[in-house]
Amino acid sequence: MTIPLPVFVAVPLVTAFLLPLFGKKGKAAATVLANLATLLLLVSAITLIGQSRAYEMGKWSIPLGINLVLDGLSCLLLLAISVVSCAAMLFSVRYMERYTAKSKYLSLFMLMVAGMNGVVLSGDIFNLFVFLEIASLSSYALVGFGCEHEELEASFKYMVLGSIASSFVLFGVALVYGNTGSLNMAYISQAISRTGITTGLGFALGLFVTGFGLKAALVPFHAWLPDAHPSAPAPISAMLSGVLIKALGVYALCRMVFNVFGVTVPIGWVLMVLGLLSMVGGAFLALGQWDIKRLMAYSSISQIGYVVLGIGLGGLILANDGNVAWASLAILGGLFHLVNHAVYKSLLFLTSGSLEMSTGTRELKQMGGLAEKMPVTRTTATIASASIAGIPPFSGFWSKLILVIAAVQASFYWVAAVIVFVSLCTLIMYLKVQRYAFLGELPENLQEVKENKGTMAIAMVSLACLCVLMGLLLIPSLRESILEPAVTVLTDGMRYSTNIINM
């Protein structure tokens, strides 16, 4: 049975509308319902692997109506969103006990999932903007969920920058409509391949890069991320760092640059420079942090840099009419790193939440010697750290290796050197976490610390297993069904439009 694509938006939306109706007494039922919904989404996302199709809303053929497009790239993102949201939802069952208004939290969570699913499936730029707003608005509210001083401040900062980004995107949409007379991505892409990128369209592209760059927290636009991600409750930090910045930022940027506007040499360079700046800047800023979640947030910036660097490198090779195999290798590295990062960064944030819940602090200096007290957290955190630092059998190693190989093949030796250097910095910063949180002496006040069991442990362990097994995605049969279609979508570039129109 093929699952109709609107299900991916309708299920979380209807769940979100239902959840506030439960009220205080039905809290357990609400939790079960939300978990079931994320599980259902995960199962249906798995059945989509290897498919590509379009769905026309209300039976109106494009360009009259809105279409949903499922191709390799959206399938990859859908999988990542479903996995991370499932784990984060499981984790929040117990973690969120200490806050009030849990059913509203669950509702906002489902709205965020619905928004991200809508963004990755949409084939229409205005519709993409609407779902971007849903996901962003729910994340602003979730960042400020605790209503403490820092959380409100971070939430306001995030909201201002996010709203500016949304306005930029909407202005870009208006400019594109004014220049091409269409809102459907396939038709815009057709019109652009006829006329080329004129100055007006170039300006719109600039607005899109700024807007989506703000959402993705690439380095000149990163100011909100190190405040917003640590302030949110841990499962939400996992969602924000794990998938939100990728679905709203990187995915939308790639879709616009590669499939709608068509990649050119300048935009390839812009992406590469943004990626490099984020990599280096994020890593340096992270090294000096003592707050565990803040350190992880800065490292998110650095890791997003890897993804954008890989994709930009591939785009640059494509725009120069270089070897397509090299370009797809670079893009493969970027996208593989995106999925890996989604898994291990969300795991890291979950473990930090577990640490914070048990010890009551986020300062590394106040922790220590927790290895024996919290074995599950310790093991999973070690796996995730090894993965993010690129230690061989774990997933992060493979994606970084692919990126290095691609850079060397394209004779960007200095880029390869920077990748290795930033990787070393990452190793150092996670050794610091290990050293100060888990080794050393146990402080007096933490003698009574207990391990978090139950759903929290299940969520962490399952993500850790995924972390170990992610390397298997490179096995040819799995790679051809999951990663390769996503890479083809980007390397195909402007052929996207003919694919959609003929579908």
Binding site: F17, L18, P20
Partner: protein
């Protein structure tokens, strides 16, 4: 907040009904004349806001309490989603398929009963928008009252 003077109260209790009816009219004729669910919903909400400003929050809450409004909000959204989903299941065709108009179940152009699901969607959106905007104002004003009360202590 005990409300305003008797003149304001009397006039607004009269005007409130007119605004409310005008909102309903805008919602129902949304597919024929300018307006529609959004504008109409906001007008309906503003009639209650007027009541709240003139008589005070407690009086408005007696008419339409906070939990009821919150529930109406969810119900309106669910209704709209249900219209969408009905198109999906009615003969297994499409999400948001205008099943009434396409099957020519009733109505002819330019009459009140026309355009299939569009008036129904207008009504559900009117409920949703009206209740949610009234809810926003209600929440904001009740928060203000509490803080000023705590400041006095």
């Amino acid at each position: 907040m005990k409300g305003m003077t008797i003149i304001v109260k009397n006039i607004s209790s009269f005007v409130k009904v007119l605004i409310f009816l005008f909102g309903i009219y805008i919602i129902l004729f949304g597919h024929l004349t300018p307006g529609g669910g959004f504008a109409g919903g906001v007008i309906v909400a503003s009639s209650y806001v007027l009541l709240m400003l003139a008589y005070g929050r407690e009086f408005a809450e007696e008419n339409l309490s906070l939990p009821t409004t919150s529930r109406l909000d969810c119900v309106g959204a669910l209704l709209f989603a249900a219209i969408a989903l009905f198109g999906l299941f009615y003969g297994a065709t499409g999400f948001f398929w205008n099943f009434i108009h396409q099957k020519e179940l009733w109505g002819q152009p330019l009459k009140l009963l026309s355009a299939g699901t569009i008036p129904l969607s207008n009504i559900s959106i009117g409920i949703k928008v009206g209740s949610s905007l009234f809810l926003v104002i209600l929440i904001l004003s009740s928060f203000r009252l509490e803080t000023s009360a705590s400041e006095k202590e």
